[in-house]
């Protein structure tokens, strides 16, 4: 390098170059740090976006505990359904014993993935004590927690429904009793074991034929368990069924009653007695009888000679009555007259004196009375027979109730009135006797449709 003399023109501007280099370095450094800052910001934004996605997923997640049951090994079987649109990852099962003092909390690690719409069963790996109050908790990886209160039946009130079909049954036939239990206690999500009971009163009036399983394991709030029993009606009368469940709170039960009627074989054989038409139909007046209860008996003396029992009935078609059958309780000669009146009270038919039979049917053949559809009255008198023989079969007392046109009119000497005044029918249960306020039951009009 030359130290003395004029510097080479190539050496000129070295300072500027150096300065420019430094400026370039500074700019490069600035750019580098800018890039680093940009990277940090981008990472931060990515993280925020990731957390935002996580929060969105958390909000979308919807795990529902559908049912909880105790297994035969006293483990908890939790049925959970994913009702949300995203997959859920169950990571903890919590079981809290609320009965224990202090409360006992146990957590079990899970690794269950539940897809949308999928139902998953989780069985605890530790035993629980039946009869204790538990809170069951499922925790998801997204941080959602779903709880279910799983209590014994003794802490839960349920809506009960008891139905008997048919409500009126003939002796010897079966009746089915349906029982529905629906937990509606908002404080409890699921019942542990539930065992139902059904008691019949009087117990000897029905006999159990068959029944469904009477226990369910775990019943969620709002869901119903159905139970059924089939009973055979063995005795005539009213049977009350009382349905409830074991350990039910006081006052939680349901009642239903059925009427068991005496077995009715009707006139024997399809051809029936003489004059019984093969194309005949029966109009059973007893079907109009609105009360249940056990048919009872009545004596001619109870009926009295000055009373004509009147019972209204309706037919919905034109018929020609060809036979009449009346159930009786005891044999007694000439103790019964029957008559049919139209809606104006005009007598359309009157029988001869009839003999009652012992626990059988009084058959009155050879009738030909045409009845158009409409309202009619059926009348009975004792034909002036004084007897304490319980000859008639009648409906049970109706107590103090008063029924429209269910009553009697006056007559004399036990004769069938030539006509009656419907508006004058005494609608009282008091006569002819407080214990025999009913009316002849099992009256069949055998007829042909005209």
């Amino acid at each position: 390098m030359r130290l003395i003399g004029r510097p080479n023109k190539h050496n000129r501007g070295v300072g500027s170059i150096i300065g420019a280099v430094f400026v370039a370095l500074i700019l490069l450094s600035g750019l580098t740090f800018y890039a680093v800052t940009l990277g940090i910001t981008q990472h931060y934004n990515d993280t925020m976006s990731s957390m935002s996605d996580m929060d969105w997923n958390r909000n979308q997640e919807n795990i529902v505990i559908k049912q909880i049951a105790i297994t035969s090994t006293n483990k908890l079987n939790v049925t959970a359904e994913n009702d949300g649109p995203v997959q859920s990852h169950l990571i903890w099962l919590g079981i809290f014993n609320k009965t224990a003092t202090p409360e006992n909390q146990t957590y079990q690690a899970l690794n269950e993935y539940v897809r949308p719409g999928e139902i998953d069963n989780v069985v605890s790996n530790f035993a629980v004590i039946s009869g204790s109050m538990y809170v069951v908790q499922l925790v998801t990886e997204s941080g959602n927690v779903v709880e279910s209160r799983f209590y014994p039946a003794s802490f839960v009130s349920c809506a009960l429904t008891l139905v008997a079909a048919p409500p009126t049954v003939y002796q010897g036939n079966n009746v089915t009793v349906l029982f529905t239990v629906t937990p509606n206690d908002t404080g409890v999500d699921s019942i542990q074991g539930l065992t139902v009971t059904l008691n019949a009163t009087p117990a000897n009036f029905v006999q159990l034929v068959n029944n469904s399983s009477l226990s369910v394991s775990g019943l969620a709030q709002g869901t119903s368990a159905f139970f059924w029993w089939v009973y055979n009606a063995t005795n005539v009368g009213t049977v009350v069924f009382n349905g409830t469940y074991n350990q039910a709170p006081i006052g939680i039960y349901a009642l239903i009653s059925i009427n068991v009627l005496a077995h009715d074989t009707g006139p024997t054989g399809p051809q029936g007695p003489a004059g019984f038409s093969t194309n005949a139909t029966f109009t059973n007046l007893i079907l109009n009888y609105p009360f249940g209860g056990t048919p009872t008996t009545m004596r001619p003396n109870d009926l009295g000679a000055s009373t004509c029992l009147v019972y209204p009935f309706e037919i919905d078609r034109n018929i020609t009555v060809t036979n009449i059958y009346i159930r009786s309780n005891n044999a007694l000669a000439n103790c019964l007259l029957i008559g049919i009146y139209d809606s104006a009270g005009t007598r359309l038919y009157v029988s001869n004196a009839l003999n009652t039979v012992d626990s059988g049917w009084i058959a009155i053949p050879g009738i030909s009375v045409t009845l158009a559809s409409g309202t009619y009255y059926f009348g009975t008198t004792n034909n002036n027979v004084a007897s304490n023989t319980a000859a008639y079969t009648v409906t049970p007392s109706i107590g103090t109730a008063t029924l429209p046109r269910w009553g009697y009119v006056a007559t004399s000497s036990g004769a069938m009135p030539a006509s009656i005044t419907p508006s004058s029918i005494i609608k009282s249960s008091g006569t002819p006797g407080t214990t025999t306020a009913g009316w002849m039951c099992y009256v069949l009009l055998s007829s042909v449709t005209s």
Binding site: F22, T37, Y44, M54, R58, Q105
Partner: protein, 178 residues
């Protein structure tokens, strides 16, 4: 002095002028020669000095800019990192139960990073006496139980607001009915 002696030895003006001119030329030649030599040395030094000055200024400016950039970036990164960590934290109180005045909280970490519980408030009153769980690092997806003596008296049937705060400042509040 030299000039004066020369003027005295040459009284003729013409001669004197010529002599003076001649002498001035010599002097100028010498001065010029000297000056010419001095100018070459100054350019190199000046160049070196300029290079040094520019280099020094560049180093200073670069160092300052690097420091400033670095400081800014570090601060930015620190702040961003803190915010990011806090944003990644998620915690939830999944269960509360008590035994007399001792409260037990079950806390779930469902965030993306580990966290540590720092403070618990009951009805806006800070818990002073912890029996366990505080300061323990909770991993992702892990439950931890925090036990402490309630700073307020727990009455059955009453509702209390419980706030759990992490060391990074994340919190979760629940209303708990005793």
């Amino acid at each position: 002095m030299v000039l004066q002696s020369r003027n005295q030895s040459k009284p003729n003006n013409h001669f004197f002028v010529r002599a003076v001119n001649s002498e001035r030329k010599d002097t100028m030649r010498i001065v010029h020669s000297l000056f010419r030599n001095k100018r070459g040395v100054s350019e190199i030094i000046a160049s070196l000095m300029l290079v040094l000055i520019v280099t020094s200024a560049g180093v200073i400016a670069y160092s300052y800019s690097i420091g400033a950039f670095s400081s800014f970036t570090s601060l930015f990164q620190l702040n961003t990192n803190q915010k990011e960590k806090q944003a990644q934290e998620r915690l939830a109180v999944v269960a509360v139960w008590n035994s007399s005045n001792q409260l037990n909280l079950t806390v779930l970490n469902y965030g993306q990073i580990d966290l540590t519980i720092d403070t618990v408030y009951i009805n806006w009153t800070s818990v002073a006496s912890y029996l366990g769980g505080r300061g323990t690092t909770i991993g992702k997806g892990v439950l931890i139980q925090i036990s402490f003596t309630s700073p307020v008296t727990i009455q059955s049937g009453s509702t209390y607001e419980i706030i759990v705060v992490s060391t990074r400042g994340s919190k979760n509040a629940v209303n708990w009915k005793a």
